[in-house]
């Protein structure tokens, strides 16, 4: 049976954040994941989705089933064409609570996801989160 098709969610305004989160929750529930893992990953998705909207000027999230390393994963890839993050390391270390990086829940998202990748240039940012299913 071919894997389920990828799901794309537009992230234009803050009300789209809930859609992104719920789409991920639905896919994780369908995969039979435990509630705590669903909540963790959905929270990470919520963080990055918000960043994409408020800092990236809007963008897209794509949810897909992937297989690598002999395991199956649910991946969420966020893309935007914003101005990019100048200093990624700093953004991630400040995490969540300082006034400087208000809204950048990157550090938190990284901790909550099983895998995390980020690439940011002045042309835009791509963040990829993954939740291990098996």
């Amino acid at each position: 049976m071919p894997p389920a098709p990828a799901k794309r969610i537009r992230l234009a305004s803050t009300s789209d954040i809930v859609n992104a989160r719920r789409a991920a929750q639905a896919m994780l529930e369908a995969a039979g994941m435990r509630q705590i893992r669903i909540t963790r990953f959905s929270t990470a998705i919520s963080e990055i989705a918000r960043n994409t909207v408020t800092h990236g000027g809007g963008g897209m999230m794509e949810l897909a089933h992937e297989a690598f390393d002999g395991r199956r994963w649910l991946t969420a890839t966020f893309t935007d064409s914003g101005a990019g993050i100048a200093d990624i390391e700093q953004a991630m270390s400040d995490g969540f609570s300082t006034a400087k990086s208000l809204g950048l829940g990157l550090g938190g998202a990284k901790r909550l996801a099983d895998a995390f990748e980020i690439e940011s240039t002045p042309q835009g940012t791509t963040v990829k989160l993954a939740c291990r299913l098996t």
Partner: protein
């Protein structure tokens, strides 16, 4: 018990000298601002002594929502109302800890009864 506030967003209920606000899952930024307005308005108008923020409908609380809850609690405190957050789900509690969010010095209670006990306790100060 009387009811105030539009049904869009979170309803604010009055229980004696306390107010109870139940946060919905899908509040957008606009609704949040409205809620802050309404709540502070009500606290002031009724000279409420306590505010109970019910988050039992939230199955996900990210840093933004966490800060929002913290902000509501702070506003209430400034208006001299003691604030208690109730209904934090286990999965949410675990995630917030992972994110490093402690909701500041906001008090929490397992349910409405406990929250009311806490608030009643403060009356005898």
């Amino acid at each position: 018990m009387s009811r105030h506030g539009a049904d869009r967003g979170a309803p604010i209920l009055a229980l004696g000298r306390n107010l109870v606000v139940s946060i919905r899952d899908d509040l957008d930024d606009q609704a949040i601002v409205e809620l802050q307005d309404r709540l502070t308005e009500e606290i002031s108008r009724r000279r409420a002594e306590g505010v109970i923020i019910d988050v039992s409908r939230l199955d996900v609380v990210d840093t933004f929502a966490g800060r929002m809850i913290g902000a509501l609690a702070k506003m209430s405190r400034i208006l001299d109302a003691r604030t208690v957050v109730v209904g934090v789900r286990p999965a949410v509690a675990m995630t917030l800890v992972e994110l490093g969010m402690t909701l500041g010095e906001v008090e929490t209670a397992l349910n409405l009864d406990r929250a009311l006990e806490i608030l009643a306790g403060s009356k005898s100060r």
